[in-house]
Amino acid sequence: MSGHASTYEPKSRWGKWWDERLPIARLMHGSFVDFPTPRNLNYLWTFGGILSFCLVAQIVTGIVLAMHYQPSDVAAFNSIEHIRRDVNFGWMMRNFHAVGASMFFIAVYIHIFRGLYYGSYKAPREVLWILGVIILLLMMASAFLGYTLPWGQMSFWGVTVITNLFSALDTIWAGLGTSIVEWLWGGYSVSGVTLNRFFSLHYLLPFVLTGVVVLHIWALHTAGQNNPTGLDIKQPSDAVPMHPYATSKDVVGMFMFLIVFAWFAFFLPDYLGHADNYIEANPLVTPPHIVPEWYFLPFYAILRAFTGSFLGIPLGSFAKLFGVLAMFGSILVLAFVPWLDTSRVRSAKYRPIFKWFFWAFAFTCVALGYLGSKPAEGVYVMWAQIFTVLYFLFFFVAMPVIGLIETPKKLPKSITEAVLGDRAAAVSAKH
């Protein structure tokens, strides 16, 4: 899994025996022990390891929960309460899993914004980046399916609203959207049948996700890690072996993250959820505000920005279709970022104009998240429309144009120079 030759030397006869048959220890050693890591990685680079932890934690807690959960419309809600009340430490497992989903998204959003800031998507890391976008999509699908399972009011109505989005395709081809929706539901409405298949898929997707994560790490170790300067590793003194250097930093980052994780899991387990999900699903009663989980709010705001008219432009019967396309487009556009950015320099550290637009974009995403939590009425709609436009302008105008007109700051000659300054020459010579 690595672009560099492993320096692994089996020490025991047992190790030799295996090395001649299945050199898995050699592979691991080359990928995670002596793999050359840029010496200037900051704590934002610890989120790769944190995300691997999140994935494993979700799978482990999920498997335990599935031992006690019953995926049926009559029993699902009760079985969650059974887990909370009667299963030994069930409340803890359930909190870890529910809070874990939110933490997974906090980590992945930081990871993505780090990639955007330091230009981690630029050649030769395009495939690595696109695999990341696929991982994000799979995460979102898993999270959405998982939120259905408690079968509370918000589960039920969230599924109803989101699956209904596909009916927008009826505007393209009459009946197409409706057929897809009925096929997803397994009937003419969201029901226990829907819950059963969502449970099945919720159990499946994390393993698909794991497969793509393996490819993501493979691609990472082929292209090598980016770093805050955006420079390639040019000389031995630019890099340090992954172990113990990067690993010792990774565990510090991970434990700092775990402090936040534990704070929510033990003291605020329901802070990130919605009170309505403690009411059992009821197809006859619609909650006053249907909102998705916080990590979907920016995309939800984009979806709902397309009302009858968009910033004065009448949309008529196409409003819903445009909303759906914009929402999916807002994620898919990430896949094209490697080619939308025309800059020759990777890191925003050396890009005086782009840096500002990056932070404006970050603000746009937060603003959309806030607007997604508000009812789609009054000025909220107008603001959602403005920020939706700004969201796409960042990708389709700011990224290509700034790369062409901007004069980057002077780059350091090497990573070593960036870290050590004047002492760089001495260190480089020593190697």
Partner: protein
């Protein structure tokens, strides 16, 4: 380039300012009910724990007042004696269950068991049974309650919250404040406000037949008559505080907060052990990391 940027940012500031004003105007005109005040709860925040005595008093209020309409089906009698709850003696709970007026339907795999005359058989509750309300099902409840459905109360404290609509600028700060304090008592604040929120309707509001005016309730009209009044319970009933609406509302709200989250005490206690472990380990790992990296510089 510089001049152009300046021009753009000046225009942007004007536009943003105009839009801000319109946002403020919108917030001022949209109507909301009276603000629901946050209360002091012994179980609040990151270090609060349930007060056993308060939970016992709260259960008394539930038993004497609420249970005439509302069930508590996700709670078993035995839970009343478990650690972290009201911690009644096991013998007392056994007696309580046996005397509970709403008995348990005898069930077999096919459903309920009928006696020789076709009547459904019921038996006295045991500690392992749920705390049932007076109605066999929702239809029976609605028939008896003029069409209204008294909800099961086990999860009610978690199923309700207080919606706040602060200005967008202070919103993140308030969120951070809640996160640092470990604020999760929105449901309790709401229940307390509801139980103490019955007033005469304002002159311009017409209250429908069979409805009562309550400022805390969404829509301000609800079918539940004011359940509490001063001296509703007395020392003779075993209520040991001055029997004001305020005291009884607080106690029953605390009890409902426990039924919705019975592992709260254990959860926070373990939480602090975990936090301590994580903080110390993070510090040690950081020192180790510094030492490893010091060789490089």
């Amino acid at each position: 380039m510089r001049v152009m940027m300046k021009f753009i940012s000046a225009r942007a500031a004007v536009v943003t300012g105009a839009l801000l004003i319109s946002t403020a105007a919108f917030a001022a005109t949209s109507g909301h009910g009276p603000e629901i005040q946050r209360q002091q709860w012994p179980f609040a925040g990151f270090k609060g724990q349930f007060d056993k005595n308060q939970l016992q008093r709260g259960f008394l209020v539930y038993k004497e007042v609420c249970s005439s309409c509302h069930g508590m089906k996700r709670l078993n009698f035995r839970n009343l004696s478990q650690p972290g709850g009201p911690e009644f003696a096991e013998a007392a709970v056994k007696e309580l269950a046996a005397g509970w007026p709403n008995q348990i339907p005898e069930m077999n795999d096919a459903g309920e068991i009928a006696g020789k005359g076709g009547e459904l058989l019921k038996r006295a509750a045991r500690p392992s049974d749920p705390i049932l309300g007076p109605y066999a099902n929702d239809a029976a409840a609605r028939a008896a309650q003029n069409g209204a459905l008294p909800p099961d109360l086990t999860l009610i404290a978690k199923a309700r919250s207080v919606e706040r609509d602060p200005h967008w600028l202070v919103h993140p700060l308030l969120m951070l404040g809640d996160i640092f304090r470990g604020y999760q008592e929105g449901g309790a604040d709401y229940l307390y406000a509801l139980l103490t929120g019955y007033t005469d309707a304002p002159a311009d509001v017409k209250v429908n037949d069979g409805m009562y005016y309550n400022g805390a309730f969404p829509g301000h009209q609800l079918a539940m008559p004011p359940p509490l009044s001063d001296d509703r319970l007395t020392e003779k009933d075993g209520y040991k505080l001055p029997p004001t609406v305020d005291n009884m509302a607080r106690d029953v709200t605390a009890f409902l907060s426990w039924t919705a989250d019975p592992s709260l005490n254990q959860r926070k206690r373990i939480g602090w052990q975990v936090m301590l472990y994580l903080l110390v380990t993070t510090l040690l790992l950081y020192l180790g990391k510094k030492r490893i990296w010091s060789k490089l510089h």
